[in-house]
């Protein structure tokens, strides 16, 4: 477990994921119960007008939240909101970021984002961690 006192404005929490694989999305489909075929089957994605299968937005959102997991002994995620800005394709390399914007009483306010290898945000939003 990490300590909340390590949080500081201007030092983002950050991690880069391995390239998105089909197996990642098959696993997420199975674990979440979201079997929309545009996430797993090429022909269905093409039929829907996409250039290939795309990641579930919730897969990216779920991944992004793990930046906070090491702190859950001291805080919990009270609010977590994102907009899905762009599609994530197979082979894309995502960097997940959370930047502390302010601390107010027992709450830590973060801006969060997932960026692809072209540095475009595919997910963008905010999170509030509340001290327990």
């Amino acid at each position: 477990m990490n300590m909340v006192k390590e949080f500081s404005v201007g030092t983002p929490l950050e991690v880069t994921l391995p390239p998105v694989s089909r197996l990642d999305l098959i696993k997420y489909a199975g674990a979440s119960g979201d079997f929309n075929p545009i996430h797993t089957i090429d022909e269905e994605a093409t039929k829907a007008g996409l250039q290939g299968i795309i990641a579930h937005g919730m897969w990216t959102m779920g991944n992004l939240a793990k930046l906070f997991t090491p702190y859950y002994e001291e805080v919990f995620l009270e609010d977590y909101s994102v907009a899905f800005k762009g599609m994530v394709f197979l082979g894309d390399v995502l960097t997940l970021k959370a930047s502390l914007s302010s601390i107010q009483n027992d709450r830590y306010y973060f801006d969060v984002a997932a960026l692809n290898q072209k540095n475009e945000s595919v997910v963008k939003g905010s999170a509030i961690l509340k001290r327990l």
């Binding site: 994921l17 674990a31 609010d79 977590y80 909101s81 994102v82």
Partner: protein, 149 residues
């Protein structure tokens, strides 16, 4: 086309935060923290048991809003938010329901877009709120035309 259903809520469905399902979910998002998965770490934690990843409520059954039918294809997930009163605990029972909060249409680049605002609720069996979830789902004109034909 969904206006008449605004405000309709499903009958709550009983769900359980199951250890096996939670393990598969944690793996699928690459977040295999001992706070979620290791029983002894959970026991020693301030929660007294393991907790669930914040986006885990995706797996729950929220029941059906009567008369509300969406196609499984052609929908765009625009936005998503979670609000927690406290973390979700492994093993606990959660009563889950969903409601259509709002529906409106706007002109976009690819024609008239429909915006569905869906809210989801997770409550203790006694009715106390644990979390809410809100999603914005965008329906394109092509999909809406397919539905009405």
């Amino acid at each position: 086309m969904f206006e008449s259903l605004i405000g309709t809520r499903s009958t709550p469905v009983k769900n359980i935060v199951e250890r096996g399902s939670l393990k598969a979910f944690s793996k699928a998002i690459g977040d295999e923290s001992p706070i979620y998965l290791d029983e002894s770490v959970g026991k020693r934690s301030r929660y007294g048991c393991n907790i669930a990843p914040p986006t885990y409520p995706r797996v729950f059954d929220y029941g059906e809003i009567q008369g509300f039918n969406l196609p499984n294809v052609g929908l765009i997930h625009g936005k998503q938010s979670f609000h927690y009163e406290r973390p979700l605990l492994v093993g606990e029972t959660v009563m889950c329901s969903t409601s259509l909060e709002n529906y409106y249409e706007r002109n976009g680049k690819s024609g008239l877009l429909g915006f569905l605002i869906l809210k989801r609720y997770g409550e203790e069996p006694g009715g106390k709120l644990i979390f809410t979830e809100e999603q914005v789902v965008i329906i394109t004109e092509a999909v809406r035309e397919g539905m009405s034909s």
